[in-house]
Every structure is written in structure tokens, then in C-alpha cells.
């Protein structure tokens, strides 16, 4: 039964892989700088590594927002998010998995009468604004810096092409890692409080926790999405959505990856806190929104005119609509799952005892910790 309930999360993971891999390798593959097969292998590897090793930070924030503690509830929340994503994509609105899952969790909270942690919600919503803004800031300065370097170094166009390819591959690997770390929460986060997997001891020295096993499964679903469907999306993104020069593409993907990483890395957050510096909340962000921020940063750096405000309006509209639709849909579906299919969508005894339970993965390098 667990595998059936996980199906909605796996579907969400598949759609994340199919759509969001294009935000990392879209330009590189679309412009044939990197072959699709190579891009897909790198994405797969690093998404899984990011998910398993650093996926817990953003997941904790989602769990704090609403600990969906019964498998049927988790199934419905993930299914609502997946339907929202598919529907909005059909309407050609830029959609974020993060926003739909947050909306769906709030829908679950409202349906089950669980309290919504408003400080977590404020953290999440503010990050959705700060994330793209930070991406724009990064890409603005990085683009200026890289142009200055290129002009001064006077590298031959053909050599630059080779360095670009390697840069795109490296930055793509970092992007895939960050995507796995940041977005696995969207795919598998709602299953964490209710997941039934037992910890596995490896060679008597390492622990592969239940949550990590869950994230591995989610990572594999994302990878299947990358291999089966992202090819088409990458060509669309690379050729139509944002036709950038390879340098600009490199900067945009790096900025996007940095933002996803900053909002996902527990180790970085701990390091900043230990040094008395302000840290960013660990929140699942939309890689598409981060890319849009990055592209706007490039446009500003080049003093480009003509930002299309109609498209910007569409993005803002989708920004607001996605969580609301996700929430309403989840509320309705929960009613059906509970009353028509007679499934338990909430475990009240669990939620009383574990309302602020954190995921069972210790901070970074948790894969290497002793049991």
C-alpha cells in the first residue's frame, strides 16, 4: 500500500525532473553546447546526491508548516500539488511545484483542523520574493564581472567555447545538486512524517535513514522525469524562452543554483549562524522563478529595454494563484479520500505528540554519521 500512496509523490517528482531540469541544462542542450545524454546523466547523479545528502533542511520547514502524518493524507497533498502543476502548465502559466505543495499543505491543515505555523509560512512566502531577487542580484554582478574578465583576457572565441561547455557542465552539476537538495522537499517532504522506512546500517558504520531512503526514491523519480521528458522541454527553453549567449546562460544557471543552494544548505546555514551572520531560511523555492530572476539580472546588466510587463503580470498572477488552487483542490480531494474511500488522512495522536518533529537526518554529511 505504501508504494501506491507514494505514487502521487513520484508523479510530482517525475514532473519536477521533466520540467525543472530544463532550468539547469535548457540553454546548454537547446543550443547543442552539451549533448542531452551527458546533461541527463549529470542531472540524475547530482539531483540524487543533493536530495539524499542535503534534502532535509527545506523539508523541515515544510514539516513545520504542516506535518502531514498519515500516508493517505500525504498522497492527497502530493496529488493535489501534481494536479495543480499539470493544470497550470496546460494553461501555459509559469508554475512552481513549491508553491503548489505549500498551498496543498495549508489545505490539509485547514481540512484536518491542524494549526498552520505562521512564522514558517511567512518564512516561505518571503523567500519566494527574496529568491528571484537574489538571483537577479547575483546574475547582475556575475555578468558584469565575467564580461570584464573576458574583455581583459582576450581569449579566442573557439577556446572560450570549450571553457563555456565545461563551465555549463560544472555549473549544471552544481545546479542539479542544489535542485535535488532544495526541491526534494516538494516531492517527498509531505511523506516524511508518515514514512514507514526503517533505518539501514551500512557496513556497521553508516546509517542510511528512512528519510534518506525516501529521498532516494524521490530522486530516482526526478531522474526518470529527466530522462523521459525533459529533452523536449530543454529544447523549448533553450530556443524560445530565454535565448541567451553561452556566457549569460552560464551566469543565469550559476545564480539560480546559488540561490537554491543558499535556501537548502543546512551546513551553510549553521556556519553563518556560528559566525554571527544572518542566515537564510531553508525553504523549497521555484527554480523557474530563480531563472526568471537571473534573466532579469542579465537584462539589467546590459541595460536592456523592453521588459515585457504582460509576461511579468502573468508570472505574478500564477505566483498568487498556484498556492490558492493547490489549497482548495487539496481540501476537496481530502474530503473524497476520507469520506468516499474511507482512508485515514490525519493521525491525531501523532500530531499531538510530534507537532514539531524534525526529520531524522542530522545536519550535513549525515550519510557519513555513525549510528
Amino acid at each position: 500500500m505504501i508504494w501506491f500512496f507514494l505514487l502521487s509523490g513520484l508523479f510530482l517528482g517525475w514532473s519536477l525532473g521533466a520540467n525543472d531540469a530544463a532550468n539547469i541544462f535548457g540553454t546548454a542542450v537547446g543550443t547543442r553546447m552539451i549533448k542531452f545524454k551527458r546533461a541527463a546523466i549529470v542531472t540524475t547523479l547530482f539531483v540524487i546526491v543533493g536530495a539524499v545528502f542535503s534534502g532535509s533542511g527545506a523539508t523541515d520547514t515544510l514539516t513545520n508548516l504542516g506535518a502531514v502524518n498519515a500516508l493517505a493524507g500525504s498522497f492527497t497533498v502530493a496529488l493535489s500539488a501534481a494536479i495543480t502543476v499539470t493544470w497550470m502548465t496546460k494553461l501555459e502559466l509559469p508554475v512552481s511545484t513549491s508553491q503548489s505543495i505549500v498551498g496543498a499543505i495549508i489545505g490539509w491543515n485547514l481540512f484536518t483542523g491542524s494549526s498552520t505555523n505562521f512564522s514558517s509560512l511567512a518564512e516561505i512566502v518571503s523567500s519566494w520574493v527574496v529568491g528571484p531577487f537574489l538571483a537577479a542580484l547575483f546574475s547582475f554582478f556575475l555578468f558584469k564581472l565575467s564580461m570584464k574578465i573576458i574583455r581583459n583576457l582576450k581569449i579566442h572565441m573557439l577556446e572560450q567555447d570549450i571553457y563555456n561547455r565545461w563551465g555549463l557542465l560544472l555549473v549544471g552539476a552544481f545546479g542539479a545538486y542544489s535542485l535535488g537538495a532544495n526541491n526534494i522537499a516538494n516531492v517527498m517532504g509531505v511523506f516524511v512524517p508518515a514514512q514507514p522506512f526503517k533505518d539501514i546500517e551500512l557496513w556497521g558504520a553508516l546509517t542510511f535513514s528512512g528519510t534518506q531512503q525516501l529521498f532516494l526514491i524521490g530522486g530516482i523519480a526526478v531522474s526518470i522525469g529527466v530522462f523521459t521528458y525533459s529533452h523536449k522541454v530543454m529544447f523549448t527553453v533553450g530556443k524560445t524562452l530565454f535565448k541567451l549567449t553561452p556566457i549569460a546562460a552560464l551566469v543565469v544557471v550559476f545564480s539560480e543554483s546559488m540561490v537554491l543552494f543558499l535556501f537548502a544548505s543546512q551546513a551553510l546555514s549553521d556556519w553563518l549562524n556560528n559566525h554571527g551572520l544572518p542566515s537564510l531560511p531553508l525553504v523549497p523555492l521555484s527554480s523557474s522563478h530563480a531563472v526568471i530572476g537571473g534573466v532579469i539580472g542579465i537584462a539589467l546588466a546590459k541595460r536592456a529595454q523592453g521588459i515585457n510587463y504582460r509576461i511579468l503580470k502573468k508570472i505574478v498572477l500564477a505566483w498568487v494563484a498556484t498556492p490558492i488552487i493547490g489549497g482548495i483542490l487539496c481540501f476537496g480531494l481530502l474530503f473524497f479520500v476520507q469520506n468516499v474511500f474511507e482512508q485515514k488522512v490525519v493521525d491525531y495522536s501523532y500530531s499531538l505528540l510530534n507537532s514539531h518533529r524534525k526529520t531524522d537526518i542530522p545536519p550535513d554529511n549525515r550519510f557519513l554519521t555513525a549510528p
Binding site: T31, R32, M33, R151, K154, I155, H156, M157, L158, E159, D161, I162, W166, T245, P246, K302
Partner: protein, 214 residues
Amino acid sequence: MPFLLKKIKELESEIDAYLDMVIKGGLLFKQSIKYFMSGEIEEFELRLDELDKIESDADILRRTIESKLYEQTLIPDSRGDVLGLLESTDKALNVTTETLHQFAVEIPHILPEVKHLYIELTDLSISALESMVAAVRSYFEDLNQVRDYINKVLFYESESDKIAEKIKRIVFRTDIELSKKIHMRYFALHIENIADEAEDVCDRLAIAAIKRHV
């Protein structure tokens, strides 16, 4: 990566060698016209043979470069521009060779009072060609320089127009047969065409450079 870089360096050298051929072709043209004007036809013919060889070698090298750019899927976003540039540069070299052939075949009668103007016109047209090659080289390595070289080409082209017009004015005010006048105008026009071709390459180059900046 080192293997790939080695291959790229080879291709860079081939592009440089190709552009060197265009420069050498221009210099040979300049030299040949001087010999023609001074009546040293044997020297002129020797230079023409040499130019023919360079033109055919340049054609082969250009095709090699173009197929390597495609086979190794290099510079996918600028490949079309680079191929266009190499082809239009080749056209400029072709016009240079053709013009010299026309001198050899038609042996125009040039009035002694305009011979120095023909040499001056040749110098200006070949200067335009040389600056065009420098602009193309800069496109590959230093985009900031492209604009300076394009301005030089435009200057030489407009100066060559002026000299060509001066030749025509002098020729058509002289009391000789109309056929000879038309013949001399025709050759002034041909030499001037070399600068025009260089200008066409630069028009293409200006757009390609903007595209690389964006």
C-alpha cells in the same frame, strides 16, 4: 580536455593561416598593379600565378575550417556568423584575383597621367582589405577592437570612391576614343570593388559583433 584544446588550437591556427592568405593575396595584387603600370609584364604574370595558387589554397582551407566547425559542433550560436564571415572574406579575395586576371586578359591602355592614381586606388583598396582582415581577427579574440578596424575599412572605402571618381573625371575629359575611356573606367571600378567587398564583410561583421556582445 587537453586533447580538445589541442584540436581547438589547431583550428585557430588554420583560421589564422586562412586570414594570412587573404593578406598575402592583397599584397600580391598591390605589387602586380605596380608592375603592370610600369610595364613589367613578366613580373606581373609571376605575381598573378602566385595569387592564383593562394586563392585556390585559401578555398581548400576555408572548406576544411567550415567542416571542422560543423563536425566538432563548435560555437553553435555563432557558427552561422563565422561561416558567413569566412565566405564573404573569400569573396573579397576572389574579386582581387579576378581583377588581376582581367588586367592580364584585357591589357587596358592606362593614360600615363592617371597611372599614379590607379596605384593610389590600389593602395587604398588593399588597405581596406587588410583592415577587414584585422577586424575579422579581432572578432575572434578581442571584440573591442572590431569597431576601430571597421572604421578604418569605411574610411579607406570612401577614399577609394573619391580616387576612382577622380580617375573617371580625368579620363572622360581627355580627348581619346570612348572605348578606351570606358575601358579605364571599368578597371577603376574593379579595383574599387575590392574595397566595396571589404565594406560588405564589415557590415556583416558589425552585426555579428553586436550579437556576441548581447
